[in-house]
Symmetry: C2
């Protein structure tokens, strides 16, 4: 098209929004979609599950690593994973976008395509509203909504001694992909891609809830850090067996060899894959793999042990470090 190189300033806020909204098919749960002061969606059981995550350029994504489409996918994926982690089904999103006036309008179109593609993957959820503002850095702020279909939410606080600990989804892929990108390596594109656009195990949150999960979280800060949140909220000790993580290490072996590191650090400390970690009173459902057990807390209070000891490597992400 002749206007492929037009900037946001040239196209204008309202015309850009019209283009982003045009032709998108909203799910039936959207009673009023984009274009008014607010959207209205159904909340079938009289409750709505809500989470929000903000991504800032150069902190949560790099424009020289990720395509606009991947940035959109990542923003949706990490939000949808929080809904999965409550045992709910993702129903809708709203998205605040900040970008500079000289941004090509097609970049936002591609980002929007990424948002919608991932929303479809997350369960045919629609993007029901948003805000587009001028910002020197790209900022993508997503709020996600979910439906529990009458079930109780699976919080972080219900784990009990005797439970099995299991995970669904990838562990350490995003961390490995990050290190590959940082080292300027083009090997292991599958891992590098998972850093740019993680792949949460959609549907496994609901499956865990139906299987009686007592506690659940998504792995956003790092497996041990996130299990630590469950341990603290539930008042328990979580014991992880590193041998159970053999397949996870194996999946990262190529990248680990290339970079000369032990992949266990990525598996235990890497976040951003948005795997799910949960505790079950018995065997976990299909798609989950057992990695440990829940026991009574030690004398120093709730904690997480790996092979009976505290892990001394990198434990997870902290926003201001």
């Amino acid at each position: 098209m002749t206007d492929d190189n037009q900037t946001l300033r040239e196209v204008g806020e309202f015309a850009v929004i019209d283009r982003l909204v045009a032709g998108r098919r909203q799910p039936d749960s959207v009673l009023i979609g984009p274009g008014d002061d607010a959207a209205v969606i159904t909340a079938p059981d009289g409750r709505v599950v809500i989470s929000t995550d903000m991504l800032v350029q150069d902190r949560h994504f790099r424009r020289d690593w990720s395509t606009p489409h991947e940035i959109g996918r990542k923003a949706i994926a990490q939000n949808a994973a929080d809904i999965e982690a409550m045992g709910a089904r993702t129903t809708a999103f709203v998205v605040g976008l900040g970008a500079a006036a000289d941004t090509p309008a097609r970049d936002l179109q591609q980002l929007s395509d990424g948002l919608w593609d991932e929303a479809e993957r997350a369960g045919a959820a629609g993007i029901v509203g948003g805000d587009l503002v001028s910002s020197p850095l790209w900022v993508v702020s997503v709020t996600v909504f979910g439906d529990l279909a009458g079930r109780a939410a699976v919080t972080r606080g219900g784990a009990q001694a005797g439970d099995i600990v299991a995970v669904a989804g990838h562990l350490g892929s995003s961390a490995a992909g990050f290190e590959l990108h940082r080292a300027g390596l083009i090997d292991c594109e599958d891992l590098r891609r998972r850093h740019r656009a993680p792949e949460p195990p959609y549907g496994q949150g609901k499956a865990a809830a139906l299987a009686g999960a007592t506690a659940m979280t998504d792995v956003s800060d790092g497996l041990l850090a996130d299990l630590g949140h469950i341990a603290a909220a539930s008042g328990v000790r979580i014991e992880v067996t590193s041998a159970a993580l053999g397949p996870d290490r194996e999946a990262l072996a190529g990248a680990a060899e290339r970079l000369g590191v032990d992949p266990l650090g990525w598996v235990l400390g890497g976040g951003e894959d948005h795997a799910l970690a949960a505790c079950f009173p018995g065997a976990p459902p299909a798609g989950w793999r057992v990695i440990g057990t829940v026991s009574e807390p030690g004398p120093a209070g709730p904690d997480v042990l790996v092979d009976g000891r505290r892990w001394t490597g990198s434990a997870g992400w902290e926003s201001f470090n």
Copy 2:
């Protein structure tokens, strides 16, 4: 306190969040509040009203003009106004915050106090979740939720020829306050304050819905621009009588004289006061003032006229200009 000057980096992400959440009383509609992967709130009539607005430093607020408390108030007020504009009651918010690691933790505490104070003003709504990330500029991204109590939402699309057009809240105050700030004047602090922290007419959205409003919007882009959205969505002409805006001009007379301008430009073109504009089949309820009428569209389609003519002054806000 001895740690009053500690930065976000020194306090740490999780400890900062703990401080921001500590001691806040959530309304009864909050089933699960901050601290888990997601929040859960009630949606009593099986629907939820949703809107989102993002504020970026130096674009939507200036840290040398506004206190952190005022920035928090503004972020909540402009979101809550969108819920009012649907005829709904504000029930909850989530807030994404971006700030640099060297930001004093007390600045975020004050911003949080502003968020909560305005949420209280907006109808005792709680802040049920959020995200705190590192960003070189302050970014405040709010998503707001509302309840229609079984009523139909008041969209922009229902105005009909013969309706009365009325407004509730201030017009032009924020624009006048902005110009006073920009000129470095300390006069008219009430107007300057309304620029830094607007005062939407909370409760009047629901009152308008109960009075049978056919269309409604909040005045965020400028009165004529926002009435233009109603005209376009409803397929009507809106005729504004400038004489009816005499009290609005009068309220800005001091600032207008000081700056040597006609205040009508602020009244018609200034946004950000988050007044409400609505169309009624008869007389509006208490708290609303009539400013015009709705008629059949002209030959060129839906439009807005002032005293029978197209307004040629500044018509409103555009994000990328």
